[in-house]
């Protein structure tokens, strides 16, 4: 069976393999290509190379120094700062897709230019995809 060309391309920065698998499948069903990586350095490289239509960003990602989480110093926030400083990719819309339910993090990501903040556990993949699709260019 010949498959249709993808309508959109999304970059998913997420370190939880099971979630990457699930969202890969659900986006595939929606005819959207999901690229993924578990760290922000690769995220920048892929964003530059692939120029995705949207970036789905988890906030809590492991850091090489061993710490998983530093409240107020999450890796996802660092990604937002990095991408903002990068001319080539600074206009790619970013949706924060996390389980960190913190008012401070929400405010900070908005400041840094994220267009939405979705708590993963609150939605089924289908519901989440519907929300994300609204942010995709028509």
């Amino acid at each position: 069976m010949k498959r249709l060309p993808y309508s959109h391309k999304i970059l998913f920065i997420e370190d939880e393999k099971n979630l990457v698998d699930i969202y890969h499948d659900i986006f595939e069903i929606n005819n959207i290509l999901l690229l993924s990586t578990d760290n922000i350095e690769d995220g920048i490289i892929i964003a530059k190379k692939e120029n995705p239509d949207l970036i789905l960003l988890d906030l809590i990602l492991p850091v090489t120094d061993g710490a998983v989480l530093n409240i107020g110093r999450e890796e996802g926030l660092r990604f937002l700062e990095l991408i903002k400083a990068n001319k080539q990719i600074k206009d790619i819309p970013i949706v924060v897709f996390t389980n960190l339910d913190s008012r401070a993090a929400r405010a900070r990501t908005r400041e840094l230019g994220a267009i939405d903040y979705i708590i993963k556990a609150n939605y089924t993949p289908r519901e989440a995809v519907e929300i994300i699709k609204k942010h995709l260019p028509k």
Partner: protein
């Protein structure tokens, strides 16, 4: 001559007043006795100095002169003693006697002809002719003095906070005094043979006693108020004492005396009430400080708790979103056949992870904060490790690892620990070894060392890098490499293990030569009452 006498009188008076004031300030001050001794020897020295200068009678000249030689030795001895015991050290009785007796012998020798052979009385003053042991005296005095200075300076560099400040003031006073006294009483007389300037030595003692007084009373927060009151009271008493002599008639003198007694008595009451007030102010200040410190601690604790809660909710939501994700895909019919079966297994795994995470969080939350000691019991750790390994057979088999339990060379004594909790520790360490060892073996061995037993769990796994090792025992600390091999870890295992071992009175540490070199974890537990199995 008359002016000299008045000046000396004033210096003696100031020295004594400082002693009395120090006593009124804090009669229980542990340095008070030593301060008094300093004053006594100084005043002796001053008085002897004066009389040796004004007396022309040969017997008395030599008597007073000898006293001027004894007082400095005793002063230096007390100084060395003070240096040795400050701030709260005990000196061995033998050392104390050695110091005391040797100074006493030197002091007695000063009264023989061996040290001071003769004096030559001149118009301008007195010249001393030294005996055979003159040099010995000088060496002993300088030796003790230098030793005291070294000890004091050493203590100064070691001390901190208030003690450092006290010593600084004390040593400054001492140096100024010694400088003045050495120049006038040692350098000039011994090098140029001029004894005339030695009478100015006493003036420098005031610098020392004032600064020493300041040092020992310094810890009073509101000291300025007390010292001002004290000075005022002393001046008032001196004036009222002096006015007794102004009156010619006995009635006048009688009234003057009564007035003097009244003034002195009320001055004493005044100082006491000021002291009382200051003390209660200090108490309030201290309580305030303590309260704000406790407040800061509670704030910090609250912050930690709220951060912990944030992370907790995040870590719990991750498996929930996985469960919800897979289940909804199954319900919506997106997953069918094998894909569906795989999804169900993933749901099961995520459920296990959820339950483990909840357990770890409760453990971590229980163990956080101050150390709570568990109820300890005699435990055979050899048996416990055997059981733990047999519980993990499937896990080990799946990874195709070899697990070796090294047979101990000698009987392993019972250790004192909490059985239930130490099982958690070993289970966690063996889990880690299994997860982070892609191939090879895990070796468990026992070492008896002194009054404790060390268990070593050694693997041939991924090792620990320098960056990772710094944070290994912290909460939620997981490296990206560990996440790769064990994606469902809570990041709390080693934090909990460490807390448990510490609460059991043991130690836990690890050794790894870096990435890819394997890791050894060590748990040291105290032997239970030295009883053998």
């Amino acid at each position: 001559m008359y002016i000299n006498l008045i000046l000396l009188g004033i210096i003696v008076l100031i020295n004594f007043s400082l002693g009395v004031l120090a006593f009124i300030n804090n009669p229980r001050n542990k340095n008070l006795k030593i301060f008094f001794l300093f004053i006594i020897f100084l005043v002796t020295w001053i008085i002897a100095n004066y009389f040796s200068d004004i007396t022309k009678d040969y017997f008395w000249v030599i008597f007073w002169l000898r006293l001027t030689f004894i007082a400095p030795v005793l002063f230096a001895t007390v100084l060395l003693y003070f240096g040795l015991i400050f701030p709260a050290e005990k000196l061995r009785i033998s050392s104390r006697y050695l110091l005391g007796i040797s100074s006493l012998i030197v002091s007695i020798l000063v009264f023989s002809n061996l040290i001071i052979k003769d004096v030559v009385i001149k118009e301008s003053g007195v010249d001393v002719v030294f005996g055979y042991l003159g040099a010995v005296y000088l060496l002993y005095f300088v030796g003790i003095l230098v030793a005291a200075l070294i000890v004091l300076l050493k203590k100064y560099f070691k001390s901190k906070d208030l003690e450092k400040k006290q010593l600084k003031t004390f040593i400054l006073g001492l140096f100024l005094f010694l400088f003045g006294a050495t120049v006038t009483n040692l350098i000039i007389p011994f090098i140029w043979g001029l004894f005339e300037p030695s009478k100015y030595g006493p003036y420098f003692s005031v610098i020392f006693t004032t600064l020493a007084f300041y040092a020992i009373t310094k810890h009073h927060l509101f000291k300025v108020k007390i010292i001002a009151t004290e000075i005022f009271a002393v001046i008032l008493s001196i004036i009222s004492f002096a006015q007794i002599f102004i009156y010619e008639s006995w009635q006048g003198r009688f009234l003057g005396t009564i007035l003097f007694i009244f003034v002195t008595f009320f001055s004493y009451l005044l100082i006491r009430s000021v002291l009382k007030e200051v003390k209660s102010k200090e108490q309030i200040e201290r309580l305030n400080k303590e309260l704000s410190r406790k407040n800061e601690y509670l704030d910090e604790l609250l912050k930690q708790k709220s951060e912990f809660l944030h992370v907790t909710s995040h870590q719990l939501k991750t498996p929930i979103s996985i469960i919800r994700g897979y289940l909804s895909m199954i319900i919506d019919g997106d997953y069918k056949g094998t894909k569906k079966d795989e999804a169900i297994i993933k749901v099961m795994q995520a459920t296990n992870r959820l339950s483990d995470t909840v357990r770890d969080f409760l453990d971590a939350s229980d163990l956080e904060g101050e150390t709570i000691y568990f109820k300890l019991e005699p435990v055979n750790i050899h048996d416990i490790l055997k059981e733990t390994i047999s519980d993990k057979q499937i896990l080990i088999k799946n990874k195709n690892l070899q697990i070796i339990m090294a047979e101990p060379h000698e009987e392993i004594p019972l250790v004192s620990t909490s059985k239930d909790r130490i099982i958690d520790v070993f289970s966690n360490l063996i889990d880690n070894a299994v997860y982070y060892t892609p191939k090879g073996s895990i070796t468990i061995s026992f070492i008896k060392k002194g009054k404790s037993v060390i268990v070593e769990i050694k693997d041939t796994g991924i090792g620990i890098s320098k960056e990772e090792s710094a944070k290994l025992f912290e909460k939620f600390s997981r490296s990206s490499r560990s996440k790769l091999l064990r994606p469902d870890g809570s990041g709390l295992g080693l934090f909990i293990a460490r807390k448990i071992v510490i609460n059991c009175g043991g130690k836990i540490w690890f050794h790894s030569d870096g990435q890819g070199t394997g890791t050894s974890f060590f748990v040291e537990l105290p032997i239970y009452n030295d009883k053998k199995i």
